[in-house]
């Protein structure tokens, strides 16, 4: 049993810390000010008045968007690593679980990059620092998923997720995409079970969040594979089976052939119906991805309403990521003088 009373002995300090970090997340007023910026220098000046402080002070001008991106990421990664270094079990394990998703992304990034003849030294800096592991550099040696598994991933915590996608096929784009989704599926399900085992507020909050994540993946996989030559049973294998769509919804999704069918399926779920409404690709309309992001932000903020759980750590990182995306979006719009769509960020309120 998870005793709330004892939570603070091990995790009280870190929880306090993460709540403190969270209060530094940019407010709506900040975004309103950021949107008015005319150059990246303005952006920097405004960010100086927020929690970001002097994080760009030592960068020579002219600023570029990628420098801002790196520095923002560096900041929250530092914060996360600080949390991780002070954590004890089971929180440390929980935090490790969070980093696995970055590992998956990094592996896929490296392999795809290698397929396009990029050198490792060029790719490594692009990897997410939270998903770094020692053997990463050698990934490009592997040319089949079997050798990838046998030589590299077997030492990483991702090994159990990989079992489903071992094959002797050469790695090509489709294979990689399938591999990524299979890995994610296994990862989310495992993470879900881990949180469920932890139980208590952690379980309640995290299962909710992960179920949403699983369903989002299922929807996205379906929508993205509509025009692609992917057998239906293959597709259904990629759906994470821990969301609210499981089992009926997933079953139907695997049979869907058109976008409207997907929408029909979402109709029968109260949580997802509103997300598919008012969606369009015209300028000014919100894309389905944005809708999901918005929903995710809302859920992550709700996670902070609960005490004595690990959900806040996960949510903090997700919110920080969203903030990062927002700032970069605005920065890109500012840099490219493309102001019509600058308001398409997702405010964190």
């Amino acid at each position: 049993m998870f005793l709330d009373v004892l939570f603070n002995i091990d995790n009280g300090y870190l929880e306090g810390l993460v709540r403190g970090f969270k209060s530094g997340i940019l407010k709506n007023q900040d975004y309103i000010n950021l949107v008015q910026c005319e150059t990246l220098e303005d952006l920097k000046l405004h960010l100086q008045t927020t929690d970001y402080g002097n994080f760009l002070a030592n960068e020579p001008s002219p600023l570029t968007v990628s420098v801002i991106d790196d520095k923002i990421r560096e900041k929250y990664v530092l914060e996360f690593q600080h949390l991780r270094n002070h954590a004890v079990k089971p929180l440390s394990k929980f935090l490790d679980y969070i980093t696995y998703s970055y590992m998956i992304d990094n592996i896929v990034l490296l392999i795809t990059g290698h397929l396009h003849q990029r050198s490792v030294q060029e790719l490594l800096p692009k990897c997410h620092p939270l998903g770094m592991f020692e053997q990463m550099g050698a990934i490009t040696v592997a040319d089949t998923s079997a050798s990838l598994y046998n030589a590299i991933l077997i030492d990483t915590p991702l090994a159990p997720y990989f079992i489903d996608c071992i094959s002797e096929h050469d790695l090509d784009e489709l294979n990689i995409e399938i591999m990524r989704n299979t890995l994610y599926k296994a990862y989310i399900e495992d993470f879900y079970n881990f949180c469920k085992e932890l139980g208590g507020p952690t379980g309640e909050v995290m299962c909710e969040l992960l179920a949403f994540e699983a369903d989002r993946r299922a929807f996205m996989i379906t929508i993205n594979s509509l025009g692609v030559d992917l057998p239906k049973d293959e597709r259904s294998k990629l759906y994470p089976r821990c969301g609210k769509l499981y089992p009926d919804g997933l079953n139907q999704l695997s049979k869907a052939e058109e976008y409207d069918q997907v929408k029909m399926i979402a109709e029968s779920y109260a949580d997802y119906r509103p997300l598919f409404e008012n969606v369009g690709t015209n300028p000014g309309d919100k894309t389905i991805e944005d809708k999901f992001f918005e929903q995710e932000v809302k859920m992550n903020l709700n996670a902070f309403m609960r005490q004595f759980g690990f959900g806040v750590f996960y949510s903090f990182l997700k919110l920080k990521e969203q903030e990062n995306r927002n700032i970069i979006w605005i920065a890109e719009c500012v840099a490219q003088k493309h102001r019509t769509r600058i308001d398409n960020y997702i405010p964190i309120m």
Partner: protein
């Protein structure tokens, strides 16, 4: 008027500059540090303000300076101290400064890139050298091994040119055995080995050797533990795989020739090139150093200049801008306004004789900031006051009183001359070395706390010594400086052995045999004879307890008097009549009377009269309780029969006088509770009736919540000293409506709380002052226990052993004395003194609703910048 007693008078001013002169004027004001500018553009974003580009340029210069400074620190160049008096450079000089620093940074970057390239080369060569040395060792080992194993199959071609085992094998076998040699970080070796084995399925052979010394890494420029490795493999495919893996692990592969001869040649070549590189590298390092040494002289001064410039532009950003003029609003102390005008005129005339800078006075509803001029002595006390709440504008500032009462109350609690002496030494050291310490401890928060309070500590120590001599405690021992006034006059025949205790006769007029008290008291403090008495604690308890109450009541009455001074100053007639008067009557009739009773008791029951002994003396506490219940303390009822105990009567007519006192005191409560709110209600109704007739000026003093509006109106013009021709009325209707907001319920509830707080507070605060006694008792007892339990143990031992034991016991005693008795007890006594002042003393008069005057001052800005580094 002394500005410490009451904050200085402040004036809100509007300054009109010509755009051209604003910069230098602000710069001069910054040097003076006596005006606080208001932000007139609060709604404007930081990046939309007027001088945002200049601020940005300053930041860019700062960045470059930081870079140069970092390099200088890396090079361990001594940085010269900043010349903080230098003026902020004029805008046109900014460009030269910018160019100078730009050039410097550019040079430095160039030298650095050059140096880095050379250095990279150099480090790579060192790594190569290591590899060659190690590789030679590998092959020699292999050679020896092969000689040992297969001496007869192996052929040597010539003596001087060794052909290694591998070479020979390679010649024979169809698959060429190749090898890769490289260097990598030691921490990655094991996973590297594992990975190699897995990918090549065990078909490669890895040989590693750890380098004994740390090697500087090429990319990170840090010293790291490294390992040289050689991989042997067969075939091209494996070679490629190995190369990729090496790549992945950031191992650097260097070409390594196969024969010993070639290796030797290469090694020689490498050594030669290393020597050459070293000289070139040294040259470029020297160049770099000379650049940095040059820059180091003025880096800090440049920093100061840029900080000043940035501060000026930030300030200019707070002003409102016209086409040609700039308008600033600021708070300034009235006494300085002439000086400000002079400075501004001077600066303006310097630039153009035709320009004029105008200073206007304006009025505003906003409360002015509180400005108390403090020096290094008073700042400590002012900080304590401000920690509770900054004094409201023009309210009496308790700091001057603190300077004595605070250390005094501390001394009462900490009363031990010995401990006080130790503290005095510590405080004395801090004061003597203050100039040196101020710099040395920068950034050490805990120590800064003590350092900031060094003068408080000094006074506290002085008062502890004073109180210690009063209590006659010196490390818990008594001193007999003036000679005890008591002596035992009984002869040797008296059977002292048979009795446990013996009471000294206090009668100075007794006959020769029984005259034990000389008749004159000990000149200062408690007679040392008490040290021997078994009832010492009972005696000192009674004494200290009474003193605590007397001191406490004195301080509270004093607080009320300060309150009266405040009421008089702000002309709050109602508050004086219906708040101060009932309050002072109440406290006098009950608590000052209590003190009187204490004195009467001391005088009356002196022990000289046989009938009035200490045994029958009335208990003051019971006396007070009886007084409240209107009971006669001399009457005891036994079996329904009243008995009078004359001994218990302090003075004739006591009972009746006490009854009158209590009744009058209780009547003060409703007076204070009801009068003021009702008067306010009446006034409010009147105002509604006559409408706008009462609309007067808005008074900056109205922040004092309890001041009556009517009172406020009168004093405004004189108090603020506004001359009518320079007053610009900024009031608008919204403000007036605000002022007219009046809720009887609210006022009444507030007054009720105030009343209850005061009357109950009098009782509980008096009791609270007993902590003076409690703390001093605890302190005295603790130090006495330490003496008897520890020190006496050693003193009791026989000489040779005792001396050694004493050595250790003394150290233990010393550590505990300083650690617990001085530091811990000192902190606790400090805390209690703080509480007595904040709660018991200040609640009688202090509002503390002001905000501090934060002048725009370069000195402060530079200090902050230095701290931030």
């Amino acid at each position: 008027m002394s500005s410490l007693f009451r904050g200085e008078e402040m004036q809100l001013c509007q300054i009109y500059f010509k755009s051209e002169v604003a910069y230098s004027c602000v710069s001069q004001l910054g040097e003076m540090g006596i005006v606080q500018f208001k932000d007139l553009n609060e709604n404007v974003n930081a990046f939309q303000r007027k001088f945002v580009n200049e601020v940005r340029r300053c930041e860019e210069i700062e960045r470059k300076l930081r870079y140069i400074e970092k390099e200088a620190v890396k090079e361990e160049v001594e940085l010269d101290e900043a010349d903080q008096t230098c003026d902020a450079p004029k805008p046109k000089d900014m460009i030269t400064l910018e160019a100078k620093i730009d050039q410097l940074e550019h040079d430095l970057v160039e030298v650095n890139t050059n140096k880095d390239a050379l250095r990279k080369n150099y480090l790579e060569l060192i790594e190569l050298k290591h590899i060659l040395v190690k590789a030679t060792q590998f092959f020699e080992e292999a050679d020896n091994f092969s000689i040992y194993n297969r001496p007869e199959t192996h052929e040597y071609e010539t003596e001087d040119e060794h052909v290694t085992l591998l070479m020979s094998e390679r010649n024979r076998s169809p698959f060429a055995i190749g090898f890769l040699a490289g260097i990598m970080n030691r921490d990655k070796v094991s996973s590297f080995e594992l990975m190699l084995w897995r990918f090549c399925r065990g078909n490669v052979f890895l040989k590693t050797a750890d380098l004994t010394e740390l090697v500087e890494d090429v990319t990170t420029n840090t010293l790291q533990a490294k390992t040289v490795f050689i991989i042997f493999f067969q075939g091209e495919q494996l070679k490629n795989k190995c190369k990729k893996i090496c790549d992945g692990f950031k191992a650097t592969i260097y070409p390594c020739p196969e024969t010993l001869k070639e290796r030797r040649e290469m090694l020689n070549g490498v050594s030669m090139r290393l020597d050459e590189l070293k000289t070139v590298l040294d040259q470029s390092l020297n160049l770099r150093r000379s650049i940095l040494v040059n820059a180091a002289q003025s880096i800090k001064t440049w920093f100061a200049q840029v900080h000043k410039m940035k501060a000026i532009y930030h300030t200019l950003n707070m002003f409102s801008h016209d086409q040609k003029s700039i308008i600033a609003e600021c708070w300034a102390p009235k006494s300085e306004i002439n000086r400000i005008r002079e400075i501004l005129d001077l600066e303006t005339k310097k630039i153009d004789m035709n320009f004029q800078t105008i200073v206007h006075f304006i009025t505003s509803k906003e409360a002015p900031p509180t400005f108390n001029r403090v020096d290094k002595f008073t700042s400590g006390f002012q900080n304590i006051v401000n920690a509770y709440g900054v004094p409201s504008y023009r309210e009496i500032n308790p700091t001057p009183f603190y300077a004595i009462t605070f250390p005094f109350l501390f001394g009462v609690m900490f009363g031990d001359a010995g401990h006080g002496l130790l503290m005095l030494l510590a405080a004395g050291y801090l004061i003597k070395k203050e100039n040196y310490l101020k710099k040395a401890i920068k950034g050490n928060e805990i120590f800064e706390l003590f350092f900031g309070g060094r003068y408080i500590m000094f006074l506290m120590a002085v008062f502890s010594i004073y109180a210690g001599f009063l209590y006659n405690d010196f490390f818990s021992k008594s001193t007999n400086i003036f000679g005890s006034k008591w002596k035992v006059t009984l002869g040797k025949d008296f059977p002292f052995e048979d009795i446990q205790q013996f009471t000294l006769n206090p009668d100075p007029y007794a006959n020769e045999t029984y005259k034990m008290y000389s008749g004159t008291p000990y000149p200062f403090g408690i007679d040392p004879v008490w040290q021997l008495a078994t009832n010492k604690i009972t005696f000192t308890n009674g004494l200290k307890m009474k003193f605590s109450v007397i001191i406490g009541i004195m301080q509270m009455v004093f607080g009320l008097v300060i309150g009266l001074k405040n009421h008089l100053f702000f002309r709050r007639k109602i508050s004086i009549l219906f708040e101060f008067i009932p309050q002072i009557i109440f406290i006098s009739l009950i608590f000052v009377y209590l003190c009187l009773m204490i004195f009467i008791k001391w005088i009356k029951y002196a022990g000289t009269d046989d009938k009035l002994t200490g045994a029958c003396a009335p208990n003051i506490l019971l006396e007070l309780i009886n007084m409240f219940f209107l009971k006669d303390g001399t009457v005891t009822v036994v079996d329904g029969e009243k008995k009078y105990d004359e001994c218990k009567r302090l003075y004739p007519g006591q009972h009746h006088i006490q009854m009158v006192f209590v009744i009058v005191a209780v009547m003060c409560v409703p007076v204070m509770l009801f009068t003021k709110p009702l008067l306010k209600l009446r006034e409010h109704n009147k105002r509604i009736k006559y409408g706008s007739r009462f609309r007067g000026h808005v008074n900056p003093l109205s922040v004092n919540g309890h001041s009556s509006d009517e009172d406020d109106k009168h004093d405004k013009a004189e108090r603020m000293g506004h001359t009518s021709n320079s007053v610009i009325d900024l009031e608008d209707d919204a403000d007036l409506e605000n002022e007219e907001h009046f809720e009887f319920g609210e006022v009444f509830v507030e007054q009720t709380i105030h009343t209850i707080e005061y009357f109950l507070g009098c009782v509980s605060h008096t009791a609270s002052y007993l902590r003076l006694w409690a703390l001093s008792l605890a302190h005295a007892e603790l130090s006495e226990v330490l003496w008897t339990m520890l020190f006496k143990m050693g003193l009791n031992m026989a000489p040779p052993v005792g001396a050694f034991v004493m050595f250790f016991i003394f150290s233990a005693w010393g550590v505990i004395t300083i650690g617990i008795l001085c530091v811990m007890e000192g902190l606790s006594a400090f805390l209690h003194a703080l509480r007595l002042h904040w709660v018991e003393f200040q609640s009688k008069f202090y509002k503390g609703e002001g905000y501090e005057f934060m002048p725009f001052s370069f000195e402060k800005i530079l200090n902050e910048a230095e701290l931030a580094e």
